[in-house]
């Protein structure tokens, strides 16, 4: 029972944050609601027993990446979003189509799931030790390749954001 309660609390926060991200006009407000979404998703990961993923969700996503976003917003002095004329067709067709698609997808997933198996807490091994066992044995090559990727990304970011001297 407590699992349902916690799931719905975190899910409500995530949904509210996602909708607020769409509704807000100012990028800073959108960034803050995205942090709410990421924090509540970290709670969902804890419910699923994925401790390590929950920790790096908070540290990497809500910490590092969002700080980068907020710094960029402040650096570029981003103001309120300008309105552009929205198409009528999008409002008339798009919104009902999206709601219908979501409801149908949700119905198929919830009602037609043959197993409807609960996802348990504690039945899962998601500690840093278990992840590391996988990461440094089976996934060693992809792990090393990500280090090359990050090196390239650092160099690319420095080259792109550098002031051009002329």
């Amino acid at each position: 029972m407590i699992h349902y309660l916690l799931f719905f609390i975190f899910a409500a926060f995530a949904v509210a944050g996602a909708i607020n991200l769409l509704a807000q006009k100012h990028p800073i407000a959108s960034a803050l609601s995205l942090i709410v979404v990421m924090g509540s998703l970290a709670g969902e990961y804890m419910l699923l027993g994925a401790e390590f993923v929950a920790a790096i969700q908070v540290i990497v996503y809500a910490g590092a990446i969002m700080v980068l976003f907020v710094f960029t917003i402040m650096l570029l002095n981003a103001g309120e979003e300008e309105h552009s004329r929205g198409s009528k067709v999008a409002m008339i067709l798009g919104v009902p189509a999206m709601i219908a698609g979501l409801v149908m997808g949700a119905w198929v997933l919830v009602a037609r799931d043959p197993a409807n198996t609960p996802v348990g807490v504690g039945a899962m091994y998601g500690s840093a030790h278990d992840i590391a066992e996988q990461l440094f044995r089976r996934f060693l090559l992809p792990f090393e390749i990500t280090s090359v990727l990050i090196l390239i990304a650092i160099m690319g970011a420095v080259v792109l954001a550098r002031k051009e001297e002329r």
Partner: protein, 100 residues
Amino acid sequence: MVPLAFYLVLSAFLFACGITGFLIKRNIITIFMSIELMLNAVNLSFVAFAAYWKVLDGQVFVFFVMVVAAAEAAVGLAIIISVFRTRETLNVDRVNLLKL
């Protein structure tokens, strides 16, 4: 014990919110945040399936998605800064040199 389907529905909703933001937003930074939201939604699916099948591969994959997202955020924000330097705007409707 929450059914797997609930997690998948939440993930689908967050992904749909990300797509909607990507389509309706005009500020390039907010569009970028919508992409991050979609990546988060997919991560939730990965972790839920990892817990469902009782294998850790999903969580390792989430780790790689986060690494790629971090690299993408760094490069993407650098691109946004250099677009702002040349075009003096963050509105994607004004970045239209390729338009006929």
